[in-house]
């Protein structure tokens, strides 16, 4: 009824203020529609698979050292790779930072990376680099068993010391592990199990099917199960050491142990994106991240990755946790070639067995 009159009530400002407001509205409306094309010299965009609290101090140190401004967003490995693949014809970023090697070998097969060998490339052992320089390791991250201390006590258990220990009926519906469809942790776990069974696939899958009965939930991300284990909502699981130790640092009472048959480890990598708009800045970040410059910052920041560069020593407390652990090497070439098939078999025979 009187609606027509209402807007008029708002028009009692002086002309000047009305124009100011209009200008403000116009600029507020215009800003978001501008593309992300503004590129100051010495700027760089990255997706980080490392969690924000690990990546941020690293990126800030790089900005300080290089004068290059870094913009980054964090995604889980699967999401980051799906984005990089979808953006192939119009790359939004220059560098994919962090994340397990299997994500990078998958990206390599999609042709999304630009080969680049940093000065440190030659110093690294073979498992820490692609032979053409499509990706390079910046850290190493072994898997561990992590269990809730109160849960162990309640069931009168020792921390699991063999793969077979996880089959104990006391763990029925009480283990949380990552889903192989999204998580690099899960893929590394499955290849660890294969390797621990001397790559006898049928034996490894028979084991995983038995283990399935004890799985309460398969989580989307590798670290996703650590909180339930910390809280005692779950009894335990298999996680990367970086997630397990972070859980302990947060104050949750958990045990870390290793299977005597051995467990796998994933190199954490970095790669240049094909068609990157800031190629030179991207190369500088890779130079820095693969060198002792960055990796010697891991320990002071309480980031529990093992440095990949042979010249950087692991933090003593981290080395202490790993003492006596048997880390088995996963053959990345074989894993890369069989990845898709193995994951599909896992989905069909293990995930959907329940």
């Amino acid at each position: 009824m009187r609606l027509g009159a209402r807007p008029a009530a708002g028009l009692t400002h002086s002309k000047g203020s009305r124009f100011t407001r209009r200008a403000f509205v116009a600029s507020a409306l215009a800003a978001p529609f501008a593309g992300g094309t503004a590129r100051a010299a010495g700027a760089l965009n990255a997706y980080s698979i490392w969690p924000e609290n690990y990546a941020r101090p690293m990126m800030e140190a790089f900005e300080k050292a290089s004068g290059i401004a870094v913009k980054f967003v964090r995604f889980s490995s699967g999401e980051a790779l799906a984005r990089v693949t979808a953006e192939k014809n119009n790359p939004q970023i220059d560098v994919l930072f962090g994340g397990p090697v299997e994500t990078f070998t998958a990206g390599q097969s999609k042709g999304v990376f630009e080969p680049y060998k940093s000065p440190s490339w030659a110093d690294l052992p073979a498992r820490f680099k692609d032979k053409d320089g499509q990706w390079t390791a910046i850290a190493d991250d072994p898997l561990v068993f992590m269990t809730n201390t109160a849960f162990l006590k309640q069931h009168n258990l020792q921390p699991p010391a063999s793969w077979g220990d996880l089959l104990n009926p006391a763990y029925k519906d009480m283990l949380q592990m990552a889903d192989a469809r999204t998580s690099g942790t899960a893929v590394t776990r499955i290849f660890s199990i294969l390797q621990a069974h001397d790559r006898n696939e049928d034996a490894a899958f028979a084991y995983m099917k038995k283990l399935r009965k004890n799985i309460q939930s398969y989580t989307k991300s590798g670290g996703g199960g650590t909180l339930p284990v910390g809280l005692g909502q779950a009894g335990g699981g298999i996680f990367f050491i970086v997630d397990a130790l972070f859980t302990r640092q947060k104050g949750y009472d958990v045990q870390i142990s290793f299977p005597k048959e051995g467990i796998g480890s994933a190199a954490e990598c970095i790669a240049l994106i094909k068609g990157a708009k800031n190629l030179d800045a991207g190369k500088k970040l890779i130079d820095w991240a693969t060198s002792p410059d960055m990796q010697s910052l891991l320990a002071p920041n309480k980031i529990n990755f093992l440095p990949a560069h042979p010249k950087v020593a692991a933090d003593p407390s981290l080395a202490d946790v790993l003492k006596g652990a048997k880390i088995i090497e996963i053959d990345e070439a074989w894993a890369g070639a069989n990845r898709q098939r193995i994951i599909e078999r896992w989905i069909a025979e293990v995930l959907n067995a329940g």
Binding site: P32, G35, K71, S76, A82, T85, S183, Q233, K250, Y252
Partner: protein, 563 residues
Amino acid sequence: MAAAVTARAPAHSDPFRMGVIVVLWLLLGLFVLYPLACLLGRAFSDDTGFTLGPIVGALGNPTHLRALRNSLVLATLVGILGTAAGFLFAYTVERTDMSRGAKRLIDLVILLPLISPPFTTSIGFVFSFGPRGLITYHLLGMQNAQVYGWVSTTCAEALTYFPLGFLALRPLIAAIGGDLEEAAFSLGGSRWQVFRTVTLPLTTPGLGNAFLLIFAASLADFATPLILAGNNLPVLPTDAYLQITGMFDLKGGAVLSLLLLVPAGLVFFAQRYLVERRSYVTITGKIGGRAHGAGAAPLARLLLWANCAALTLFILYLYGLLVYASAVVAFGANETLTLDNYRVIFTEGIPAIKDTLIIALIGMPLGGLYGVIVGYLIARSRGIGRHMIEIVSMINYALPGTIVGIAYLIAFNDQPLVLTGTATIIIACYIFRYSPTGIRTTVALLQQIDRSIEEASFSLGASSLRTFRSVTLPLILPAFFAGLGTVFIRAMTAISATIFLVSINWTLITVRILENMTEVALGPAAAFSVFVIVVVLAVTSLLNIALSRMTAPTQRVSVGTAS
């Protein structure tokens, strides 16, 4: 104002109306059909060209069929439970002598699930009902209670989505003229008879709408199953999401989402059939008072109150948990009070907060306007074009958000229209995905308004613009505000589609919450959630104040829709 057109003039004789329809189709084509076509192109092509291989493969795959069946059963259960709860609350609020304070509390509590990021209910469930759950273990002393599976997924989704039903039903129940019920009483009907033969049938289109909204929301939800479904309840959206994000299998995810389209479409058409079969005009232009608590008998009223109170308390408890988790160092381990989590979100989280607010504030008015215009065209025009608009405008809502996100990513990453990395793509996604609430509300309101009111205005000599502005617009204003609210809320809380659209330049709070959760940083995740809730509450309160101020004069002509 763009839809300021006559209700009965044929479309071709009205250039203004034609202009609106042309622009609308351009937008629908660009932001609904084109991305979908790009997605289908991916799903149905390989190096050799067109192929049916993937969809045939999916239909022959028992795993996918099981996920389809689970999705259908879950969405049906959630739809029924959610509609029932929505009706319970709407009826109780409108038809019992509830005190103003209690109504206010219910309005607030019912908003909570709607305005919080999608994980909050699930997280509350995990904390409450797991093996060490606050309720199952600490309160009831149960050993090894399992939270993952059918029961908690169904309940958590019903809790999350029943407010949609409440929002759809409440204006309808309020709009049922009290004179009809009173007439039934004076004819000797018992309270139950009146409820069954007058009130309930009159709300049937609303119940259909509510069920459709909740069913579709559940069908598309990936966040709740992602956390609560566990191992034995694979559903299509989660599987499609995992297929794409995890297996890098865009094609497989697209095919799974196509399976989802079938039930979403079927429910949509069933609901339309239901609504169109009968006429539900209750606002006749004659003076009729609002019902004043005549609806429910004392005993029924007590039961209604008790049920509402129990549910309200449970929701409050879940959100109490959230606030608590935001204010301690590490929930369940180190429960020292701290403001650290809030310090984190107001330092590291500032870019996400700023981006989210800008996007929400731009998307809100555009989405509200779009919803009302489309709703008006659907309810007040005839012919095939109307059905086409209705169907196309629902597509992005019915599709799982993940698929909409991926479709946008594919469509707008290449020429001719590169939008990835901009806010435009996110805003467009919100408008075309979340305005159907505004559209449905507009349609539902207009279906109750007899065209004769508008026609009376013409015959009294008013122009079409004047008629629209002084008759139709005030009637659909509540729908406009509902649309505004929904788009703002979704812009602040949605994740499934936008997780693929955020970029280096524009990121969102919900994505940061998901990241925080996967990083076991529950404190900042909870603090972000509390922040979102506070902001949305503030903005929706302002909207409500504006709405009540703007509609106050219209109530004198007995439009009981605005409360």
